[in-house]
Symmetry: C2
Subunit: 344 residues, 2 copies
C-alpha cells in the first residue's frame, strides 16, 4: 500500500532502537544495554546519557512483541472471558486476581473467544503464547485443549469453575455446596417441600445448575421423609415474580432457595405483595450475601460464598509457572455457609 503523508506532517514511523542508536551515535547493542541496565556490562556515563537523551527525544518505547519473541517467553497470563455477565461476587474475585497477578509482574490479558469451543478456542489462545491460562470453564476446554496449550509453551493451565479437566490444575468452585448448605438449613428447621428458584436468563446455567444439584442431592441423601425439591423458573423482572407469586399457594412449597440474593429479593417482595407470610408460610434464602438483602424486612437469609483471596491464587499461579513439572493439583476453593437472618 502506498502511503502518502498528508495531513499528518510529523507522521514519522515508530522509532526503533536502531533509530536511537543512530541518533546517539552508538550501536543498537549499546542502546539495549543502557536501556535495560544490563549489569553484566558497564557502559560509560557519557554514553548512557547520550542514549537516554536520544531515546527521550525520539519518544522511543521498546516493542514488547519483538522482545518476547527474542526472549522465547512472555509473562502473559490469559484469562478467557465468556459473554455471560457473572454476578458481583465473581467479577470482584476476578478483578482481585487480575490485580494480584499484575502485582507479580504478569501482564493479564482478558480475551473474548466468541463461541469457539474446546480445541479451537485453545488454539486461538495458544497463538498468544501465554505463560499461563486461567480458563473459567473446564468443560469447554477439554483435555485436548489443555494439551494444545501446553504444547504451545504454557507453563500453567488452570481451570476455575465447577468442573475440572485432565492435565490442568483446578480451582474447583463447587456450587453444589451452596445448595447443600441451604438444604441442610431448611431440613433442620423442619421444612420439607423445597422450591429452587432458577433464572430463565440464558447463560447462567453454569452457576445455578450445580447449586440446585447440591440441594437435590442433599435432600435425597438425608432421606428425610416427604422432602421434595421443585424447580421454579423466574425471570429477572417484577412481572415474572408476580406471576410466580400468583400461583404460589398451589405449589405447596414451604421453603425456597433462590439462585442468588437478587432473585430471592425479587421473589420475596412478590410473595409479600401476594399476602404470603415470609418466613411463616414460606421460608426464603438467597445466596451471595449481598448487602442489600439486609435492607428488606424480614432481612434476607443467605448462603455466604467464600472465595479465596486473589492474592493467594496469584501466588499459586506464580508457583506453578516457576515449577511447571509439578503434578496438577485440585484446589477446592469454594466455601459456603448459611447466614441466618429473618427470612428463613
Amino acid at each position: 500500500m502506498v502511503h502518502i503523508p498528508n495531513q499528518q506532517p510529523a507522521q514519522r514511523s515508530v522509532p526503533t532502537s536502531a533509530d536511537v542508536a543512530r541518533l546517539a551515535g552508538v550501536s543498537r547493542a549499546t542502546v539495549s544495554y543502557v536501556l535495560n541496565n544490563t549489569s553484566a556490562v558497564r557502559i560509560s556515563e557519557p554514553t548512557r546519557r547520550r542514549v537516554h537523551d536520544a531515546a527521550r527525544e525520539l519518544g522511543y518505547v521498546p516493542h514488547a512483541a519483538a522482545r518476547s519473541l527474542r526472549a522465547g517467553h512472555s509473562r502473559m497470563v490469559l484469562m478467557p472471558t465468556s459473554e455471560i455477565p457473572m454476578g458481583l461476587l465473581f467479577s470482584t474475585f476476578f478483578n482481585e486476581l487480575q490485580w494480584a497477578l499484575s502485582r507479580l509482574d504478569y501482564t493479564v490479558v482478558q480475551y473474548a473467544s466468541l463461541g469457539m469451543t474446546g480445541e479451537d478456542a485453545a488454539r486461538a489462545w495458544a497463538e498468544l503464547r501465554p505463560v499461563a491460562v486461567l480458563a473459567p470453564d473446564a468443560s469447554a476446554l477439554g483435555p485436548r485443549g489443555v494439551t494444545v496449550l501446553k504444547r504451545s509453551g504454557a507453563k500453567a493451565v488452570f481451570t476455575l469453575g465447577p468442573q475440572r479437566v485432565e492435565g490442568a490444575h483446578a480451582l474447583l468452585m463447587d456450587g453444589r455446596r451452596v445448595g447443600r448448605a441451604a438444604a441442610l438449613h431448611f431440613l433442620a428447621r423442619g421444612r420439607r417441600r423445597i422450591g429452587a428458584i432458577v433464572p430463565t436468563e440464558a447463560g447462567l446455567e453454569m452457576f445455578w445448575q450445580p447449586r440446585v444439584a447440591g440441594l437435590r442431592e442433599t435432600v435425597e441423601a438425608t432421606g428425610t421423609h416427604g422432602a421434595t425439591v421443585t424447580e421454579l423458573s423466574l425471570g429477572y423482572s417484577e412481572e415474572s415474580a408476580a406471576r410466580l407469586a400468583a400461583r404460589w399457594r398451589d405449589l405447596g412449597v414451604d421453603a425456597v432457595f433462590a439462585y442468588n440474593d437478587e432473585y430471592a429479593m425479587l421473589l420475596m417482595r412478590a410473595l409479600q405483595d401476594e399476602g404470603i407470610d415470609v418466613p411463616g408460610d414460606t421460608a426464603v434464602i438467597g445466596s451471595d450475601d449481598l448487602m442489600l438483602g439486609r435492607l428488606l424486612r424480614p432481612r434476607l437469609s443467605t448462603v455466604r460464598i467464600d472465595l479465596p483471596s486473589g492474592r493467594s491464587l496469584a501466588e499459586l499461579v506464580d508457583r506453578v509457572v516457576r515449577d511447571p513439572g509439578a503434578e496438577p493439583e485440585v484446589h477446592d476453593v469454594l466455601g459456603a455457609d448459611v447466614v441466618h437472618r429473618e427470612s428463613s
Copy 2:
C-alpha cells in the same frame, strides 16, 4: 541457562513452521501459503494435504507475536483498567464494548497498570503496540500520554469518562447531568434543602464528584431562593447509615440525592428505621435504576443513566482505526433522566 529435560520426557520444544516444513518435506514459505490460504499463490492439493497433516501431527500453532512483528501492526485494542470496582452499569457497558470489538476481529486486552500515571502508564501501554487504546480516565493520561501512544503507532486513542484530553477522541460521560436531573426534579417539587450522599469508599471520586458538581451547579444556576446543597458522607454499611440517620433531623434536609441506588437504598432504610417519613419528611433519589430499587417501599426514585450500545462504540473505534487522520471528536454519550417512583 542449561536445560536438562527431567520429569517431562515428551517436553519437545514448541513446534514452529520450520518443523512443519521439515516434516512435510516442503519449505517454510509453502507452509505459510497453505496455512494462511494465500490466494495469490496456488499450491497443489497433495502438498496442501501434506502440510495440513504435518501441522496437525505436530500440534502446530502460529506465533501471534512473530506474525504481527512481521506484519508491522496488530489488531489489539488496549483497555487499561483501574483497580476501583465500578458499578454494575459501567461494567456491563465495558463488557458489551469488549464483545462488540472482538466481533469486529479485534483482540481486546485489559491491562492493569498499577499506580502508574500519565506518561509512565502510556509508555507501558505503548510497548504492546496496540492499534487502539480506550482509556477510562483522561486526567491520568494527559496530552503527553496521548502523544506517546500515537508515536508508538496507535491509530485511535479514546478516553471514556467525565473528562477529555487534547489529541484524543472522547466518549464524554458527563456525570454532572445526573446531578442536574436530580436537582431539577427536587426543585420542581418544592424541595429546597438538598443533601448529596457521597461514598466514603476510596477511588469512587471519579464517579460521584461530577454528579455532585452537577447538582450544585444546577441549584445555583436556577437561583432558587433558599436552596442549598449539603454533602453527606456515607460508608457502605448499615452502621454508617444508622449513624447518619441518627443525626438526620438536625441536618434539616428535605431531599437527598444519593451517589447511586445502593447508597440510596441503604440510607432510605436507615431513615425509615429512625421514623423519618420518605418522601414526606425527606425525598430520596438514587441513580443507575437498579431493579432492586423497585422492591423497597416506597419504591425508589432514581436517575436512569443512558449509555450507548457497545456495538455502536465498537464501530466508532473501528472507523477511527481505519481513518486515523481524522480530527479527534468528542461524543457526548451519557444521558440522564429521572425515573419518578415513590420515594421523591
